[in-house]
Amino acid sequence: MKRKEVRSLAFAACLTATVPFVWGCGDASDGKIEVEIVQYKPEAANYFKTVEEAFNASHDDIHLTISSPNDAMAILKTRFIREDYPDIIGIGGDINYSYFVDADILADISGYAGMQDVNEGYLDIAEALELVPVDGTYILPYAANAAGILYNREMFEQHGWQIPETWEEMLALCDQISAEGILPFYFGFKDTWTCLAPWNAMAVELAPADATKQVNKGLTSFTDEYGELAGKYLALLPYGPDDPFAYSYNDACTAFARGESAMYPIGSYAAPQILSVNPDLKIDSFVMPASDAKEGRTLNSGIDLGFCVTKDCKNKEAAYEVLDFLYADDTLQKYIDAQTSVPCKKGSFTLPVILDGMSEFIASGNMTDYQDHYYPSEMSVDALLQTFLIEKDKDAFLKNFDTSWQRYNRDIIRMVQEYEAAHGSAQ
């Protein structure tokens, strides 16, 4: 008898406990226009929390919600499939953006007034990301990152090392550093994505910016375009730790922060992690020298975060008002300080000190996008690179790159070639 009572109680408890859940899902709105942003950089969650609060405190008619989930791409895709679109999405200028444009999910925001203030270089980069040319602008570039080489400034000053400007100078510098018993580079190649950092940084000088597009059009092959790049990448390996594939990104950041190497080929985004281990470290950066010419150099930089308005967004005016707030100089400056990034907006901003060595390039707008922004993630070029660096077989790597590319991009290549056939004569 007693047991039965317990059981029915448990049953009742189960039922009543579920009720608030079922009811709790619909938000009660109080007449305000709801604007929702999902942005993909969880490391910037704190910044966006403050933006959200500041916006809501200063606006009576619009209520803004910003979420910064981990694995935002999976979340966005599942929400798209259930046709539950956020009003604004914050994503990077990479292949996912290309896919979203192609899937007709984003709205043309070329009419947005703030577009006038965007650094044209980044608008060009955004346009290049479209699989096939599409009319209109679909992203408001917000912040960019830059990849090259981070170095330990105190160590360089102590030993009187000079910043290299050509590939030869760079190798000479590495030899010099090694000769003094210091490790020139640290690599964290256990995390495959870090293999892309030096690759991208060197590619801007050694391969055409639109290499992937030319391949898609059938004009060239990666074996032709990436040969020198792959060879030079291999030449860097001896200057790193003995077994670079044992160390993760985190290990490499820690090692660099503790002065275990003089340089670290990675992007500006690594600075917060490095400084968390050693807040007193003076980090500076320089543009990765990959060719033997001092002229014609360019900085590897791409859109790290941009905002897109979805087609489904009910109230474009409200969305634009949110964009105005995000794009205000002081809001953007705070982001740049927090994330050590480069603003995509014209105007005078204070750049993070870590980018001192790259500021010339940034100021003159001499920047080229990351090659990997054009790579489909499922092809796992990062893993291919890791395999290449382990096995050191350049020909096999390039051949594999070409065949994999054809295989993973089959539908895109077909689309590009159909487009070429239809529009080719006009160009």
């Binding site: 579920t18 709790g24 999902v38 895709k77 259930r82 539950d84 090692a255 281990v277």
Partner: protein
């Protein structure tokens, strides 16, 4: 309790082996605790550095971790989901396991058994998209939907466990009750359900643990809602460009406590050899 008649000699060997084996547990646990108390600047890549004790034993990491994860709120959500899932699982899965376990001779029930058990092998990735869509269509893109899905996801394994356990429970027990005129339904709740207590405890532990640590289901089903479970909130600590291991470890230690307490309670139930006691 009952006196066991195991030979006394083997126990010392067992103790020695168990104590030796503990090192495989203590070492990782030590690392977890030490890291949870350290500051990021104390993290080094050298062995002595990572194994050394923190400079200051301060609860700051725990406090900060609780703030970042909105601990009490997330804990409440996690607890509710886990408790409800476990409760429903024990009720529903044991019934199903009983039905299938007692009808092994029937072609139909055998098919149902294989049908349900095969559900265990469906790769979650293929269900994700359709489930996200389906739950949204049915208005279940919320906690309740997550619980329902859990009840379905863990059904194959739990049904297998229950029906396996039943093979060792003599039919005679039910027949005795039937003679007294009790219906199958009554007999089940009065006799079989209580007897399966060790299995309930096992199922509770396994299900609770799976639910407690699961990220994917709530991530996909409730994407876009502002509520968090503990594992979802803990995702805040890691990103590609930097993971705060100190805060993360502190947070994991915190979330480990409730489930460990639950396990300790349950394992007492697993210990009670009820079949032995009931057949007397």
């Amino acid at each position: 309790m009952k006196k066991t008649s195991t030979v006394g000699k083997s126990n010392r060997t067992a103790m020695v082996l168990l104590i030796l084996g503990l090192s495989t547990i203590i070492f990782p646990l030590y690392m977890t605790v030490v890291i949870a108390f350290k500051q990021p600047s104390e993290m080094t890549n050298s062995i002595s550095g990572i194994l050394s004790l923190p400079k200051v034993w301060s609860l700051d990491n725990f406090r900060e971790a609780m703030r970042v994860t909105d601990f009490w709120n997330s804990l409440k959500n996690s607890l509710l989901i886990s408790v409800l899932t476990v409760g429903l699982s024990i009720l529903i899965h044991s019934l199903m396991g009983y039905t299938l376990g007692r009808n092994k001779k029937s072609k139909f029930y055998n098919f149902v058994y294989l049908f349900i058990v095969s559900g265990m092998f469906v790769p979650f990735a293929i269900l994700m998209m359709p489930l996200a869509k389906q739950t949204a269509e049915m208005g279940l893109a919320n906690w309740f939907g997550v619980i329902l899905l859990y009840v379905v996801f863990y059904m194959p394994m739990n049904v297998m466990l229950y029906s396996g356990y039943l093979t060792n429970i003599p039919l005679a027990l039910e027949e005795a009750a039937r003679v007294d005129g009790a219906s199958t339904w009554r007999t089940y709740w009065a006799i079989i359900f209580p007897i399966m207590r060790p299995m309930h405890a096992t199922v509770a532990v396994i299900t609770a643990l799976a639910v407690w640590n699961d990220v994917m289901t709530p991530l996909i089903i409730m994407a876009g809602s502002s509520e968090n479970t503990l594992p979802l909130a803990q995702l805040n600590f890691q990103s590609q460009f930097g993971t705060n291991y100190n805060l993360a470890f502190a947070s994991y230690l915190l979330s480990l406590i409730p489930i460990l307490v639950f396990y300790v309670i349950c394992q007492k139930q697993i210990l009670n050899g009820v079949v032995n006691g009931a057949v007397k």
